[in-house]
Subunit: 433 residues, 2 copies
């Protein structure tokens, strides 16, 4: 059962949190919605991050339709947003669980009443192992899954479960890996060795399925990457059928899960081919909700190219996350410096893209910036924009940037404003990074 | 007057904050020191960031000696750490002011009683401008400086000061810039136009000095960069003497300030040459306190090469900031995967450097990792370590990473542990990013 999000709403914030106007004094998070703030009117100190709620709602609808048409479940990766308010929205929109990467991320889910959590990582280290097992012991309704890819890892979890006399098994998913990739078993023999270790350690642990992450597949062309992803998904299926043939899965549904935000169409098409009759196919995209203006825009174009299911749906994903900054200097004819730095937007998968501009004090919607405006350098607290000498931008103007890779922009903010199509603030989300 | 840091000590934290053990429940920040936690004993969930206090103290002493020998002041850039506890330490060690980049950073200084703040940026945008002017109006003891490099920027500040009938001037420093660099006036004529605009708008604004940032100087070799930096510092001096010759500075000391963490030796040597008799020479390094294992290690070697003053001092700067992670998988003979990602350590100026390792449950100090261990890829939540097949590292081992560019590691954490040479937790700092 989901608890209300009251703990966030009741939190007091002030201008010590980046993005909050100093003039607001100390205010309840839940009262932001009623302040009547407007980005374009200059009510927010910039830089500020905003989510267009109209665009986010359309993205959520599109993904729900895609999943329905594909007959699969989603456990969106919570590490993207780390926002309990968005987790609740995703659950309300039909998500089966929330995926996390760490114990701290699991704790955030627990605090805000997420009852099913998939930790797409190994349980490792005394502090994290004890925390997870304590949480499992404290709440019998908490359904939790973590990964295993080595016998040593299984042994460590079993030792702690046994020590604390955990009254139910720790659910484990066998991690399938790809050569040159991240964690995970590279071949079926290795996977079976781990699976047998899990099965042998009942009732402390239970093998509940097979997991993989296909998103790191490398290749010179889109076709090469697609082939690598399909090959990897087939490897995941081969591990699953081998485990089934040896009856290593614990009773109940078998979870087959893969899928970042780039190849989920291949996942939903390929994993059912394992032919596991009691399988739950679970995808895990974290980025569909806000999408982006660069990395996942490209990935989505490839999804549309590959997937007839995706093409059959109306609409598509569009970027909902923006970061806004002021022009603070036009020091040379071809250059503007803006109040936006590495602290404010992701820069690991392409620099932010200047898309819109607005002059404070003027009416109307933000105007699109021509494509000849480009971010060329980013320091900790500054952006360098290359632009034509006749660019309209001058001191004090506001520029709205799309981002590449939402995860590394979300984690720059503890508060992100929710805005309507006119950039009026209708609320805010709190993140926990 | 500096207020006690009680507001940080009294804050309650729990495992929703990354790095805090779940088993600790909810605890006062100030009580961390008394918990008896040990990194090596596995009391902290990893990843965790730590500062070796012995190393930090030595760094602080070295810089104090260097400044004393050079006869200059320091206003350390607070954006590096954004930790009021470290700001207080820097003030106690003799810092003249704290430098910030944004209104939010200024507000953090104010909350924790820093009475002299240099904002090395333009004041821009209605929300930030009003916040700064309100702060100046509220506390006559608050000494504040900001930059100006355009007449439009001066006009905007004056308009707000006038509107709010600010009873004292907003102190402005003229920003000197370099071609192809960031903000700042490219030539003396442009600078004089801005300086005259400031002088003409008394009493709302006052010209208090000249500022520049030399750290973006580009060049193929160290010698090329040194030459560019010197040329830039001479440009800054030329602006200062031109302003003096026109009597554009307000009465009182004239602040000449430059200096990131790479070329401060050139700054302290070059700026006095302006020959301004009532000048305060102010450097602004933010990174000396923790130093790093890569980018600033290299820069410091160059400082030592260039500066006889630096060479004459005992010791030098050493890396005090580390991030620790667990080995979660050894999926291939030549690869380990660790619980450390882009969310946990800077990756914009070189990937973190694996330096130490420790096996939980064993006694003794962490052992150095051979140089044939190297981070080769970093995802949001994972590190890929290339290593020789005979590497001692296995599931559950702890690895300590040095970082490159402290600023982008500090901003990944709200809590960073203070540890002694045996990695026992002696306290913690809180950051405000």
């Amino acid at each position: 059962m989901l608890e209300p999000i009251a703990a966030v709403d009741d939190e007091l914030i002030d201008a010590l949190t980046k993005g909050v106007p100093a003039g607001a004094g100390r205010l309840r998070f839940g009262d932001i919605a009623g302040r009547g703030w407007s980005l374009l009117a200059g009510d927010l100190p910039l830089p500020a991050a905003v989510i267009r709620t109209d665009v986010m709602a359309a993205n959520s609808r599109w993904m729900a339709e895609f999943l329905k048409a594909s007959g699969v479940l989603i456990a969106p990766h919570g590490k993207t947003t780390m926002s309990p308010q968005l987790f609740h929205r995703q659950i309300a929109d039909g998500a089966w669980a929330i995926t996390v990467a760490t114990m701290q991320q699991m704790m955030v889910c627990r605090r805000f009443g997420i009852d099913r959590v998939l930790m797409a990582n190994q349980i490792v280290g005394r502090a994290a192992t004890r925390a997870i097992i304590a949480e499992l012991a404290a709440d019998p309704d908490f359904e939790f899954y973590a990964l295993a890819d080595t016998v040593e890892g299984v042994t460590a979890v079993v030792a702690e479960a046994r020590r604390s006399r955990l009254p139910r098994p720790v659910n484990l998913l066998l991690e399938a890996g790809m050569a040159g990739g991240r964690g995970g078993c590279r071949d079926v023999a290795q996977a079976l060795a781990v699976a047998r270790a899990i099965a042998a350690e009942a009732p402390w642990v239970a093998l509940r399925g097979v997991e993989g992450f296909e998103g790191l597949a490398k290749g010179a062309t889109a076709e090469d990457r697609t082939a690598r992803v399909e090959q990897f998904l087939d490897h995941l299926c081969a591990i699953a059928t081998a485990c089934r043939d040896e009856s290593l899965f614990a009773p109940g549904p078998v979870i087959l899960t893969a899928g970042g935000s780039a190849y989920y169409d291949l996942v939903v098409e390929r994993l059912p081919r394992a032919g596991i009759t009691n399988a739950l196919i679970v995808t895990r995209s974290g980025c569909y909700l806000t999408h982006d203006s660069c990395m996942y825009r490209t990935a989505f174009a490839e999804v549309m190219e590959r997937s007839a299911t995706a093409r059959a749906l109306p609409g598509g994903l569009a970027p909902a996350l923006q970061v806004w900054a002021h022009v603070q200097s036009r020091p040379e004819p071809g250059r503007a410096i803006l109040t936006l730095g590495k602290r404010d937007a992701g820069h690991d998968a392409g620099l932010p893209v200047p898309e819109l501009w607005h002059r404070p004090g003027t009416e109307g919607s933000p105007q699109p910036l021509p494509g000849d405006h480009e971010m060329v350098e980013m320091n900790d607290q500054h952006a360098h924009l290359a632009l034509p000498p006749q660019s309209p931008l001058r001191f004090g103007d506001m520029v709205g940037f799309g981002v590449s890779h939402p995860c590394t922009t979300f984690d720059k903010w503890q508060i992100i404003y929710l805005v309507d199509a006119a950039y009026r603030v209708t609320g805010a989300i709190r993140t926990f990074f």
